[in-house]
Each structure stands twice: as C-alpha cells, then as structure tokens.
C-alpha cells in the first residue's frame, strides 16, 4: 500500500468537530474537489484500456505435387512460412553453382526462435542420401511494435482442416507417421509438433534473439486436442448465413470448421518501445528417417514436403492499450 499523508484523494483538507472551519479552508476544499472532478486523472478511472486486434489468415493453395516428368510447377511458393533454421544462403550470382549445403557462419541468429525443438527434426544432421538435414521447421513470424505499454491478452491460433488439404489416404489429422514416427513417439499417435510462442526483443540488443525474452510458449502439446470441437460439428441442420459456403454440387452443405483452434488467454504486459514477435512453427519431416505423418503425403510417388498447404492457418492477436 503506497504511503499517503492523508486519507483523501480529492483534497488534503479535513474537517471535524471542535476544529476550525473558516472560509479559506472550505474554499480550498471545494476548489480541490471541483478541479479534480473537472480534470479527472487516469488513476481515478477504473477501466482504462481498450482492445485492438490483428487478424491474419488465408486459404492455402491447392496441394499438388511437383512432378518433374510432367513439368508441373504447382504449387508456386510457401510464403509466409520461412525456414526456421538460418543456415543456407540464397545463391546470388552465377558463380554459386554448388549444392546448397555449405554452412555459412555469418548468420546472426542461426536458431532464431527459442523453444522450438521437437522430436524427429534435427536441423544440423546431414542425411547420407542427399546431404540434407533431418527435416525442417517453417515459421510464420509476425512482428509488432508498441511505443506505449500494452497488455497482450488473447491469441487465437487456427489450423483448420478439411478434405481438400490432405487426402482420404493422407488426411491432416495431426498424427505421427504410421510407419516411421519420430524417435520416442508411437506410430499414428497424436502429434506434438506445432510450436507457438511470443517473444519480446531485448531493448538493448533487439536484433540478437539469444537475448530475447519469451513471454508465451507452447510446445510439445497434442495438436489434435486443441480442436474446434470434441463433437464433429454437424454438416446439416444448423442455421447458416449467406453466402452459404461451398453450396455447390461438389459440397452440398457448408463445411463446418474442423482442426485446431487454440485460444490462449494471456495477461502479458509489454513495456514501451517493445518489439514483439509472434511465431507459429510447423514441421516438415524428411520423409525417410521420419515419415511425414499428416504433414505430408507419403502415398505420393514423389514425396514432397508440403506442410504449409495441409491446413488453413489463421491467427488473431488481441492486446490492450491505455486511453490517453
């Protein structure tokens, strides 16, 4: 309890029986109260935060596989998912014709997000058959700046699924590979390979991630338990609204959302002039040592890791900012 020299907020004047109560003191007291009432400070207001929100998300490209024989070039890109591990540089001129496994020791932040290690992925291993790492992870990273103090209070992360992103033979149901799961995991078990985290950069060295402070982190959780609903939402018999999604001969009813929808309730204060990074990290298993599980299609003749097309990602961060 902070020290105060008198019990009142509005005025220091106090009056009681058998003490003086002259006009000057009355005027002073009245003036103090009136002035405060006409210029109410923030400290006298109970609710003084409003919420702001950032909505992100898209529907992924149709998942087709690169087929060298047919020269089929789809899909075209995997933005905004970027490799988690900073290791290979882009070749930048015609002289750089070597296979891209040369380690370049000039990266400032090789492992740029803390707390993202998962079974089955070893970024620094080099597999004998193609000299590539044992799997990769891809991060969708968003950076915000808060010039004034704020409070992060809600983060909804969605990885919605339906039959289009995955196949009947290889659905996206967030399970480990049925043949070669990561070491220590059981084939076909619910996977624990998505990482979500928020970090605040160190104000004195904001570009060195080793000094950042991780304020929110979830790792090694069963993704399938963060589901939209334990009961599959009905495909019929509910009140829909126009446009009734997917109402065509191909899908006679709207597809209810399924998959992962995680709500994180937080109460994370962020100091002024803070750089805040949100990251969602997904795996791309190598496909040989560790099977792709539901993050890739091992039934395809040409395995191509495509975790970024196998769900509909979405994110919504809400934070509080003080009135001013």
């Amino acid at each position: 309890m902070p020290y105060r020299d008198q019990p009142r907020k509005a005025t220091k004047e106090q009056f009681s029986a058998n003490t003086t109560i002259d006009g000057n003191r009355i005027d002073r007291a009245t003036e103090d109260v009136t002035d405060r009432f006409n210029d109410i400070p923030l400290a006298d207001i109970r609710r003084r935060f409003v919420s702001n929100t950032l909505v992100q998300g898209w529907t992924p490209q149709e998942a087709v596989f690169y087929d060298v024989t047919a020269n089929d070039q789809l899909p075209y890109h995997h933005f905004p998912w970027l490799d988690l591990y900073n290791h290979w540089r882009a070749r930048d001129d015609s002289n750089s014709m070597v296979v891209d496994t040369t380690q370049t020791p000039t990266f400032q932040n090789p492992f740029r997000i803390k707390g993202t290690s998962i079974p089955g992925i070893d970024h620094e291993a080099r597999l004998a058959f193609d000299n590539h790492p044992q799997g990769r992870q891809y991060a969708w990273t968003t950076t915000l700046y808060f010039s004034k103090p704020a409070v992060l209070y809600d983060w909804s992360i969605m990885m919605l699924t339906d039959v289009e992103h995955g196949t009947a033979a290889s659905p996206q149901n967030f399970t480990y590979d049925g043949v070669t799961p990561p070491e220590g995991e059981t084939a076909g078990d619910p996977s624990k390979d998505v990482v979500v985290c928020i970090s605040v950069d160190n104000p004195f060295n904001p570009d060195r991630q080793v000094y950042s402070s991780q304020v929110v982190a979830r790792n090694r959780f069963e993704v399938s338990r963060e589901n939209v609903s334990l009961n599959a939402l009905p495909a019929t018999g509910f009140a829909d609204f126009a446009p009734t999604v997917f109402g065509s001969a191909r899908f006679t009813n709207a597809l209810p959302p399924a998959g992962m929808w995680m709500d994180l309730s937080m109460n994370v204060p962020v100091p002024r002039n803070s750089r805040v990074r949100m990251a969602i990290v997904i795996p791309a298993y190598d496909g040989v040592v560790v099977g792709p599980g539901s993050w890739g299609d091992s039934t395809s003749a040409i395995y191509y890791p495509d975790p970024w097309y196998r769900m509909k990602p979405g994110s919504q961060l809400s934070w509080l900012e003080e009135i001013e």
């Binding site: 009245t30 009136t34 409003v50 149709e62 900073n86 400032q108 919504q316 009135i323 001013e324």
Partner: protein, 675 residues
C-alpha cells in the same frame, strides 16, 4: 450559506447519480484504434513493368462516422455532400516484415529460376539433345566449324517457354582466361544461344572467377575448351532459392516507400479517381533493414495528422526495388526479392463516445441491461439556510466531502465486462471508442491473385466452372463490440502472372454474370454443443462496372498508370481498387446506403447476458452464444462460368477475379473500455 459550502458538491453528486461524468472532464479523453493490415507477401511479380508506376502496392480503407454521427445530404451519387462528424488523429505507423531475424533480403520464388543443368561439350555431336526440367536442348554446331567439339550454337525447342528472352544462360569455363568476345587470338569461345522458336539471339553472360562478359554474342574465334556447366533459368518457375536469405551486394532491394494518401470518395465526387493528398510519406532505406542492427518494424511516430471520416485513405507501399531487373540484364532472375508477412499497423486516436444502448436501436443487445447504465447513489444533504456550518453529521461539510471522495477512491467506472455484462454502478457518460477490424480474404494464392485462367486449378473446393469459389476468415470475439458499418475493398491490382502465362493479367473480370457476394455472420460452435450462425450483413456485387455492381459503391481509386478496371469511356477514370458498403441487416440505421441499426456482438454469461434483442426483426439463431465472427466471400458465374473465354467460361481471357493479395473486409463500429 449552504450553496457556498455544499453547492458544488451537490452538483457533482447530481452528475455522478446520472452517470453523466463527461469525457471533457477527463484528462485522458481518447481511445486508441488501429488499422492493422497483414499481407502474406509482396514479391517481384507485383511489379508489372520496370517503371516505378506499377510498383505501388495499395490497400484502401475508410473510417466512416459511427451511425449516430453519420449525415449526408441526399442527392445523386457522385454529388453527395458530407455533414460534420468527429475526426480522428493518426498517431503512429509501424511497418514490419519477416527477415528471419537476419540482415539479409528474402529471395522470392522467381529468384534464379529453376532449371540448372550441366552439359559438357566433350563428345557432343550435332543433334545431341539434353533435357533439363522437361525442356529439350539440342546441340547445333555452326557449319563453319563442324569439327570443333564444343557448343557453338545451342538451340532449344521448349514447349513451356513463354518468352524467349526470359531464358538466361551462363557458361562457365575452367580456364584462367576471361572470356572476351570478338578478340582475335583468344582461346575462349563465345557462343550464341538462340531459341529456335525465335531466331533472335538472347542475352548471355559468360563468367568465371568474377569476370563477366555481357551482351548478345555471336560466334567469334571459337576456342577448344569445353563448357563445364551450363545453366538455364526459366522465368515463372518455382525456384529452390525462394525464401532464402540473400546477403549479396544488392543492398537496395529493400528500398521502400510508404505513403498514406487521401481522396474524396466517388460517392461525393465521381470525377475524382486519383488520391488528392498525401497525409504522410516516408522513404524506407534498405540500409535500415540490412546489417546487424535493423529498424524492423520501421516506426513513424508522433504524426498528429487529422483524419476525415468522409474520406478514403490508401496505405501504399512502393516496392520498386524488389525486382532488380534491368533491361537486358541476363542475371535479372538472380535478383528478385520479397517482403514476407508484411504488417502495416496504423495507430489512431478517437475521442471517447457513449456506448450504444436501447433494444429499439441496437440489434442483438443483451436485454437484461439494454446497454443502459445504473448509477451510483451519492446523497449530499444540503443544510437549510441559517444552519450552523458543521463538519460532521448528516449535513456536515466533511460528510459531503467524504461522500464525493469515496467516488474517487473507488474509481469511476464505465464499460463492458468481457461477458457483455455491465458494472453494477457506472459513472462515466462516454466510455467507448471507435474500432475497425481489418479482415483479409482471398489472400496468398499461388500467384497472390486469382485469374480466370487458373482459378479452377489454383483454388481448392472448386468443381466445375459454374460452381462458386469461396473463401472465409474467422475473427474470434474477445471483447464486446457494436458493429456499425461493413466496408469491403475490392482489389483489381494486377501483377506479372508467373503461372498464368497463357493470357497473363490484362483486365478486370468482365462477365455480366460474374458476382462477388460478401457475408458477415456471428457463429457459435467452438468446443460447444451447438453450431449456428446469425447473419449480420450481406450484399452481392454483380457484373463488374455495371449498375448492379455499384449498388453500394463508395469509391473507386486509381493507384497505377495501367489500371485494370476500365469504364470503357476513357482512360482517365480507370481504377485499381474499389470500396463498397456491405449493408447491415435490418432497417432504421444510417450509412452511405440505408441499412440496419448497429449490432451488438459479445460473448455472454448464462443466464444473464445471453438473452438478446432481435436481429433483423427475428430472434438471433446464435441466441447470445456467439463466439466468433465469420467473414465469407463467394465469387461465381453460375451462368457462363468463372473461367476464361477460351476455356469456355464467361470472363475474357486475361481477366483477374481477385487482385494481388486479395480483398479486405473492414468491420467498423464501437468498442468499450474493458479491464
């Protein structure tokens, strides 16, 4: 003199007892709202030409007055006159993008093409063919030197090559001598690379050890040394370099420009399509983003510019340096880059306003309180005239002081709880703030935009060309919010279509039956027993550039020199972007076009705040149990087909359905102070 001692205190109590402590009496009178725009990526394909005019990625938005402040004179669209409404203040802009926490630039998927093949000339005979990624290369030797074992003229017969001069060839020689064209006595050979579909020679770069020889070369003094490697990059193919960091000398790749532009909407003046004023602008130097210390996010603070609620604003990012292409540069496709996961966050201040209340004026509002306030009861007993002034007692001065001071001690209250309930007692007259939530839709397709040529291949859930193409985005309800307006930004911005190569991107969709339907609904179903929706707003645009498309048009905005939406009457009024109102259901509300009254949105507790007022005159199916807002967009041509004409559809060849990085839906309304 009771007025002297108790008058002011009694007046204060009267205000408190009517929940009428006004915002002007407060030191902090402004709430904060943000326009937060997230773009999955902007890459070099957005730059349609080498000119700066086609490199300005733009997102329009407007901040219309809340319904109670909205006033316009009624006259023909294009000549309306706005009334007076509260303004807002732009305080800060922050721009960020993902650099993988490094001081490099991110290569895009055009970077360096795809095909890399190795051909050696030893033992090659005329007519020998080599296949690189499905492209067949044929060795052809110049008749003058049939005995020389080298590639003297390499031609190819590729079926997937759209543009001959997009092929880049690099030849490496293992010798220590630089390649010099046309020099007598030089032992190195120079080669002509030609496409047998196009006899014109193409640029070629010969290089070794950092020495480069550029230009269009012809056979001269062919040497005897073999080619060691021969690489071909084809524009438009996915590059394995995409997403990687480039630390090369192209330090200006992230030279950007940001502008916030202002214009008078078409609704008020139909002769204006170009932004008229620049509110703020900034040159973002690439040096700010490379190196060990980076200004990412890039922040422009303490702006203090007034924003007019009856104007259109355009957030514009000039990405002219993402494509380092120079005319004739054979290495162009080594130097193409992307901004990944861009966030433009614009922070505004708006004066606090009173919240919406009343069953007859706010749809879906909890009927247990209707948004009305319950006041405190501060009782000040004013002593009769002539009474002795006392400190204590029922009419004592100190007693009155203590009663008023109690209000300050317990803090003045107002606003909503997260479950849509209200405080037991409220003192504040104004406790709400303007709000806008930007929702992306149809973003991040494989080409960033959708063309009629490729929509059936590129978009999931699509069957035949007469079936709809749908997208949806979910918005979690985290705090009570009253929806006043829905505004959509329809995007016709073109791009250099890397996959839609047959017809490219030449115009906006033009099928008379092409429609875009937008719907916003409340939903329940997250980890719950029930699954239902309540419609909040819905409108359909039919036939671009016809009256049925413009039924709720607010604005047309031109941001490029080659816009794709044309009115057919002249070039000066063509445009790249549109703003439309999507009308709230119901009636009795205000806006650019007649619509329903504001709609309350908020989670409920049971059994208090779940009981809700009607929406569009009927009980809402969600019944107060809403958990999320769903935004949907349907593109369709059920009569002629959504694909292009040559494929049998109803859109001209080269039509785009959604521009680069899709459309935006803005949910505009009022939020209250919480916590």
């Amino acid at each position: 003199m009771p007025d002297h001692t108790h008058g002011a205190l009694d007046d204060i109590a009267t205000e408190i007892n009517s929940s009428n402590v006004e915002v002007e009496q407060r030191q902090d009178q402004f709430g904060i709202f943000r326009v937060n725009l997230n773009i999955a990526y902007i890459d070099s394909t957005f730059i349609r030409t080498t000119s700066d005019t086609e490199s300005k990625f733009s997102i329009p938005f407007t901040l219309p007055p809340l319904q109670e402040d909205f006033s316009i004179t009624t006259s023909a669209i294009g000549t309306q006159t706005p009334g007076v409404a509260p303004t807002y203040v732009l305080d800060e802009v922050a721009i960020s993008f993902d650099q993988r926490c490094e001081g490099g630039v991110i290569a895009d998927f055009m970077h360096k093409g795809l095909s890399v093949g190795t051909i050696t000339s030893n033992g090659v005979a005329a007519g020998d063919t080599f296949t690189i990624n499905g492209i067949v290369f044929t060795a052809v030797f110049a008749a003058a030197n049939p005995a020389l074992q080298q590639f003297e003229d390499l031609a190819w017969a590729g079926t997937n090559i759209a543009v001959a001069n997009s092929i880049i060839a690099t030849i490496n020689h293992p010798t220590s001598q630089a390649l010099i064209a046309g020099s007598a006595g030089n032992n190195d050979g120079v080669y002509v690379i030609a496409d047998d579909n196009n006899t014109a020679a193409v640029p070629v770069r010969a290089s070794r050890g950092g020495n480069f020889l550029d230009g269009t070369l012809s056979t001269s003094n062919p040497g005897t040394l073999p080619i060691v490697q021969f690489a071909v990059g084809l524009a438009g193919n996915q590059s394995p370099e995409g997403g990687r960091l480039d630390f090369s000398a192209n330090t200006d790749a992230y030279d950007l420009g940001f502008s916030l532009l202002e214009k008078t909407p078409y609704f008020f003046d139909n002769s204006i399509v170009r932004p008229e004023r620049e509110v703020i602008s900034a040159d973002l130097q690439s040096l700010s983003f490379i190196g060990s210390r980076r200004d990412n996010p890039y922040v422009i603070s303490d702006i203090g510019k007034v924003i007019d609620p009856y104007r259109t604003y355009v957030a514009q990012l000039n990405v002219h340096s993402l494509n380092q292409l120079e005319a004739g540069d054979p290495l162009a496709f080594w130097h193409t880059y992307a901004l990944v996961n861009v966030v433009i966050s614009m922070r505004f201040k708006a004066k606090l306003v009173a919240r919406d209340s009343g069953v007859g004026t706010v749809q879906n509002i909890p009927t247990i309180h209707d948004g009305t306030k319950t006041s405190r009861s501060v009782s000040i007993t004013v002593p009769p005239v002539g009474t002795e002034i006392e400190a204590d007692g029922a009419d004592g001065f100190n007693t009155a002081l203590a009663d008023i001071d109690e209000v300050f001690q317990t803090k003045m209250n107002g606003g909503y709880n997260r479950d849509s309930s209200v405080p037991v007692e409220e003192d504040l007259a104004e406790e709400s703030c303007y709000e806008i939530i930007a929702v992306p839709i149809f973003q991040n397709t494989d080409e960033a935009g959708l063309t009629a040529e490729r929509v059936l291949d590129a978009w999931p859930w699509v069957g035949t060309n007469v079936q709809p193409v749908d997208d949806r985005t979910f918005v979690r309800i985290t705090y009570p919010f009253a929806l006043h307006h829905v505004v959509i930004a329809y995007n016709w911005q073109g791009w250099l279509a890397p996959i839609s190569t047959t017809y490219g991107v030449t115009q906006a969709a033009d099928g008379p039956n092409f429609s875009a339907e937008f719907g916003i609904g409340l939903g329940e179903g997250l980890r719950s027993d029930n699954y239902d929706y309540t419609l909040l707003a819905n409108d359909t645009l039919i036939g671009p550039r016809t009256a049925n498309w413009d039924l709720t048009l607010i604005d047309r905005i031109r941001t490029s020199e080659v816009p794709l939406a044309t009115d057919g009457t002249g070039l000066t009024l063509d445009w790249d972007l549109e703003l439309h109102q999507i009308r709230l259901v119901g009636a009795g509300g205000t806006g650019y076009y007649a619509q329903g009254q504001p709609i309350f949105i908020g989670e409920a507790n049971w059994p208090d705040t779940n009981a809700r007022a009607n929406v569009n005159a009927v009980a809402p199916p969600t019944g107060g149990r809403e958990q999320f807002i769903e935004v949907r967009c349907r593109l369709e041509d059920a009569v002629n087909g959504i694909d292009n004409a040559t494929a049998g559809g109803g859109q001209s060849d080269g039509s785009i359905l959604t521009g680069y990085q899709g459309h935006w839906v803005f949910l505009i309304g009022k939020k209250t102070c919480i916590l």
